[in-house]
Amino acid sequence: MTAVSTPARTRQDSPPQQVRHRRRPVAPYLLLVPTIAILLLALGYPLAWQFWTSTQKFGLAQQFGKPPEFVGMANYVQLFTDPQTWAVVGRSIAFCLVNAAVTVIVGVLVALLMNAVGAVTRLILQIAMLLAWAMPVIATMTVWIWLFDWHRGIVNWALTSLGFDFTNHNWLEQPLSFYFVATVIVVWMSVPFVAFSVYAGLTQISEEVMEAAALDGATPRQRFFSIILPMIRPVLMIITLLQVIWDLRVFAQIKMLQDAGAPLASTDLLGTYIYRLGVGSSDFGMASALSIFVLVLTVALSFFYVLHLMKEDS
């Protein structure tokens, strides 16, 4: 009740209030100190170190005390003249684009399905999606590795029962089938987010518009491409962008599949390759150079997303 009656009163009182706060306030800066301090320590310093190290010769010898030596852009030159790097970059980009595309398409289809069915069926579908979404990534990987297990996995059993001979088929041995398994898993865990976001967008489309279109003789296909798609375009673009960014940095999934017995060199993506360069071979110069490349790529991709969020803030 007070909330309703007071605004008129406060509005008269507030001008002097605001003048007081406009006088170069110290409070907001003090409030930001802890956040800025931890970001500088845990992200800022490593970032600076990484830039510096990417211009140094910093390998095993430096680990044991030899001072690093400045080599300018040599690490970058060496890195990007190595066909192995391009193989990893190419695979990462292909993997990320394919996964993002499949995820968004399947996600939109699931959202349309949620929109098309009755309340009970929709609830069942939403619960199934939520459970998949809630699974922690390492538990997800463990389960899928069990599903695709070469010896007793249910996937091999099902395919064999259907008449294909998949007895003791090792899915992780060949790069292409390794990436197929990885894609199935990434799509499975990413679709729920897309489906829920797009479904939220679909519920905003007014029923009258759809009915009017139907009365005017628009086919379901026309209704999808001429009404639904343009209306969910903003949400679709943000989601696609986020998927591309997230799929570019898949690490846990690839690492876990490699742990389960896949050849490393032919299945590495950017994350695992950096890990192998840095933690595996202690070649910090090269690992830093490649990390910088990943960061630049991500920041470039994030630009539009951040722009969109800023628009919301103002």
Partner: protein, 300 residues
Amino acid sequence: MSTATVTEKAVSTAPATRPATRRRFRPGRALATVVAIVVALAWVFPVYWMLNSSLLPNVVLTSTTPRFLPTGGSFDNFVAVISQGTFWPALGMSLAITLTTVVFCLLFAFLAALAISRFRFRGRASFVLAVLFIQMLPAEGLFIAQYKLMSSLNLLNSVAGVSILYIAGVVPFTVWMLRGFVAGVPIELEEAAMVDGLSRTQAFFRITFPLLAPGLVASGVYAFLQAWNEFTIALVILQKEEYRTLPLWLRGFVQASANRATDWGQVMAASTLVAVPVIIFFLIVQGRLTSGLVAGAVKG
């Protein structure tokens, strides 16, 4: 919008959007229902299979035909996994790191959110911009440098080392999330209380703070999930076996599976132990996360 409201909304709008006249049998609708059920089953199957396998003894799991229902199952796998003795230290490590992260992250983010939503000051826009960009930085592009940082600070294999990196990783999005909540409490409420004689601080703690509780819970659970599930940084910083968090502990089982002598029943029991608390917490904040990430896009 929380999970509950998503479904509530779905349920409550259903009669309005589908008038009774259209409730007669339509083949298209029936087909959609069948497809939806099949998709739901396909999506839930891995989760079901984890639970099912966790209850079955290894003899059954390694037989030629799979058993689709946990008939004759028991909790023996869980008992075996827990009594191995590595579970409790990993749980303790995960709890210590996660709680440290949640507490500091909430505190820092809360103060920062207050600054950006209650004050207009020089540098505000650049701070928000920086926070949004930092939020997108992948751990995969920084973990080598973070490893060197922690090694030079002598914080490898420690709760503090990992927690510092987690707080920095989670704080940006938490600031962003809380900012929305703080901005959602009308300043007029606070001002009214000040007119009625409270100081600015009193007004804040008596009026605004209680209204922020849901936001703090949602952000806290978000931070919890991030820290609890994190894998990459933990893998790099916690290399000693006795300092493993739960995800690393679970990975140990999968690595052993490469030797082809895995007790899958126990591995699935271990997975279940890691997954169940996460699933419960996740259901609390899910809706908030969706709307936070794509907010604005829906409104157009």
